[in-house]
C-alpha cells in the first residue's frame, strides 16, 4: 500500500510538472506567435504607383488616408486639383484623382476638408505625391487590414522599389505620419 501511495504522489508531481511545463511553453509560444500583418511605411514611400497594380486584389487593399492634424485644409489643394487648374471647383476635369475618390467639403472660409472615399480609392498615390510636393504631405498610403488577405508573401512588397513593406504585429497594424515625416524623407 505504502509503495502504491508513493507512486501516486510521484506520479502526481510528475503530471503537475508536465502540465506546468506544457502550460508555460504554450503561453510563451502563444505570446511569441502574435499574428503579423503586412504594412507599408509612409515615410519611405516614393509613390511609384505599384500599390495599385501589384496587389493580388483588384482594387488594391492599399488605400489613401488623410491625416487631418497635418492637413492644411487648403483651398488650393494640390492633392485634389490637377496642377495648373485655375478653377477651384469640384468639376471632374479639375480633379487629380483618377477615380474621383476625394471629396472636397467647405468647412469655413477659406478652409476645405478633403475626405477619401476608400471604396473608390485604388491606392495609386497620385494625390499622395502631389500633396507631398506642393502641400503639407498629409495624404499617405496604408494597407487596409480589413481588406487585405494577408498573403504569405505580399506581392507589392516584392516589387516595392523603396523597401517600404514589413510585417507588423496585430496589436499595432498601422503606421501613421508624424509631424516630421515631411522632413524625415530619405535622401534621393
Amino acid at each position: 500500500m505504502s509503495e502504491r501511495k508513493k507512486l501516486d504522489r510521484r506520479d502526481f508531481m510528475r503530471t503537475a510538472a508536465a502540465f506546468s511545463f506544457t502550460g508555460a511553453t504554450w503561453m510563451a509560444v502563444g505570446q511569441k506567435a502574435e499574428a503579423k500583418y503586412w504594412q507599408l511605411d509612409p515615410a519611405k514611400c516614393t509613390q511609384c504607383g505599384r500599390c495599385t497594380t501589384h496587389c493580388v486584389l483588384n482594387p488594391s487593399a492599399v488605400k489613401c488616408l488623410n491625416q487631418f492634424d497635418i492637413c492644411g485644409y487648403c483651398d488650393l489643394c494640390f492633392g485634389y486639383l490637377q496642377p495648373g487648374s485655375r478653377d477651384l471647383d469640384t468639376g471632374a476635369e479639375n480633379q487629380l484623382c483618377p477615380t474621383a475618390a476625394i471629396e472636397r467639403k467647405f468647412i469655413e472660409a477659406p478652409y476645405y476638408e478633403y475626405k477619401i472615399h476608400e471604396d473608390k480609392c485604388i491606392g495609386c498615390a497620385k494625390c499622395v505625391k502631389a500633396c507631398l510636393v506642393f502641400g503639407n504631405g498629409s495624404f499617405y498610403l496604408q494597407i487596409r487590414q480589413d481588406i487585405c488577405i494577408n498573403c504569405n508573401e505580399c506581392s507589392i512588397a516584392k516589387s516595392c522599389p523603396s523597401d517600404c513593406f514589413s510585417e507588423v504585429p496585430e496589436s499595432d497594424p498601422y503606421m501613421y505620419l508624424t509631424g516630421d515625416t515631411y522632413l524625415a524623407h530619405p535622401p534621393a
Binding site: 505599384r50 492644411g72 495648373g84 505625391k129 502641400g135 522632413l183
Partner: protein
C-alpha cells in the same frame, strides 16, 4: 497457362502524361503572377513644373556652414556680418568666415530669432518669447500671448514687436514689456482684410528698408502690407504653379527677407526656389537658385540676408546653412526671368 499481362502499347505516353501533370502542378504553384506596371494615368509627373526654373542665374553657392548641433531651425544676422543659428538648447554665433565665436544656452529649440534695434535678442520659443539682453543674459519671458500661440517669425522696430503667430493665424503687436497691444490678420470684410491663411502653422513677417511691415499670407501665395492698427495698405498674390514669376504649392513663400537695396528675397518650399521681387508691385525680378539645387520636395528652415547681401538659407536635409552670392553681373535680370 500464364495470366495475360495487359501492357500498354505506348509506355512512354504514361511517362509524358505523369511529367505533364507534375510539371503543370509545379508550374501553377510556382508561377509568379505578372502584374502590369503603372501606366501614365497613374503617374503624377511634375517634370514640366520643375523645368520652369531651369534658367541661368547670377548667383552661385559659395559656401556652407554646418553647425554641430541638432534641430537647427532659425537664423539671424547682425550689422557686423555675424550669423546666429539656433538649435536644440542653443544659439551659436558665427563670424562672416563661418567660424563659431560664441554660444548661448537656452532651454528648448528656438523657432525664430530677431535682433531688436535696442540690441536685445528676441527668441521665439514656439509658445513664448525669450528676451536676451545685449550681453545675452536672460531678461524676460513673454507668455500668454494668444490662445494657441506658435511664434514662427518676429519683426521688431524701436517701439513695437510683431509676432507671427502661426497657431492662431494672427500677427500680435506687443511692446518691449511683452504686453499685447493688439493683433491683426483675422478676416474682416468691412475693412477689406481677407484674413491670414496659414495651412502649416507657419508664416513670416519682415520690415522693408522703409520700415513698412510686410506679412506673408501663405495660403493666398502672396504678401500683405499692414499699418500698426491692422489696416491693410496693399496686397499682392501670385498663385501659379506653372510660372516662375509666381509661387507654387498651397502655401508659399515660406520665408522672406530684404537685401540692402530693399529688394524682397523669397524662399519657397516643395520645389525649393529662392527668388527676388520688387516688393511694392510684387513684380518678379530674378531667380537666385532653383529646385535642382535641393531635394524635391523639401522645406527650408529659414532665410536671411547678411550685411554684404549674401543670401543664407538653412537647409534641413543637409543640416547646413547654404550661402548664395551674386557672382555675375552680366545677366540681364528680366531676361533670366523669361
Amino acid at each position: 497457362m500464364k495470366e495475360p499481362v495487359r501492357k500498354t502499347k505506348h509506355p512512354y505516353l504514361v511517362g509524358v502524361a505523369i511529367a505533364c501533370v507534375v510539371g503543370g502542378y509545379f508550374h501553377l504553384v510556382s508561377k509568379e503572377k505578372k502584374f502590369p506596371e503603372p501606366g501614365p494615368n497613374l503617374e503624377y509627373d511634375i517634370s514640366e513644373l520643375l523645368e520652369i526654373d531651369e534658367v541661368e542665374t547670377a548667383f552661385e553657392e559659395t559656401g556652407q556652414i554646418v553647425p554641430d548641433f541638432d534641430e537647427a531651425k532659425a537664423l539671424e544676422t547682425d550689422a557686423d556680418g555675424n550669423l546666429y543659428i539656433s538649435g536644440k538648447n542653443t544659439i551659436a554665433v558665427f563670424d562672416r568666415a563661418g567660424k563659431e565665436t560664441s554660444r548661448i544656452a537656452v532651454d528648448g529649440t528656438p523657432t525664430c530669432l530677431e535682433l531688436a534695434p535696442n540690441g536685445q535678442l528676441l527668441v521665439g520659443m514656439g509658445d513664448h518669447v525669450l528676451v536676451l539682453a545685449p550681453d545675452r543674459s536672460p531678461l524676460a519671458t513673454w507668455t500668454d500671448l494668444s490662445e494657441r500661440t506658435h511664434i514662427s517669425a518676429i519683426a521688431a522696430d524701436e517701439e513695437n514687436v510683431y509676432l507671427a503667430d502661426g497657431g492662431s493665424r494672427i500677427v500680435l503687436r506687443v511692446d518691449y514689456d511683452g504686453t499685447v497691444l493688439g493683433s491683426f490678420g483675422k478676416a474682416d470684410e468691412a475693412r477689406d482684410i481677407p484674413g491670414l491663411e496659414a495651412p502649416s502653422a507657419h508664416f513670416d513677417v519682415a520690415f522693408d528698408n522703409d520700415g513698412q511691415l510686410w506679412v506673408v499670407n501663405p495660403g493666398r501665395l502672396g504678401l500683405e502690407r499692414y499699418r500698426d492698427n491692422g489696416d491693410i495698405v496693399t496686397t499682392w498674390y501670385r498663385p501659379d504653379v506653372t510660372r516662375l514669376d509666381s509661387f507654387s504649392g498651397c502655401c508659399n513663400p515660406m520665408q522672406i527677407a530684404f537685401n540692402s537695396k530693399g529688394r524682397l528675397i523669397t524662399g519657397e518650399k516643395g520645389p525649393v526656389r529662392i527668388k527676388i521681387f520688387e516688393v511694392t508691385s510684387g513684380s518678379f525680378e530674378e531667380l537666385v537658385v532653383g529646385s535642382s539645387a535641393f531635394h524635391v520636395p523639401q522645406q527650408i528652415g529659414d532665410l536671411v540676408v547678411d550685411s554684404s547681401d549674401r543670401i543664407l538659407v538653412l537647409d534641413p536635409r543637409k543640416k547646413a546653412v547654404r550661402i548664395f552670392e551674386q557672382t555675375r553681373t552680366d545677366l540681364a535680370r528680366k531676361e533670366a526671368a523669361e
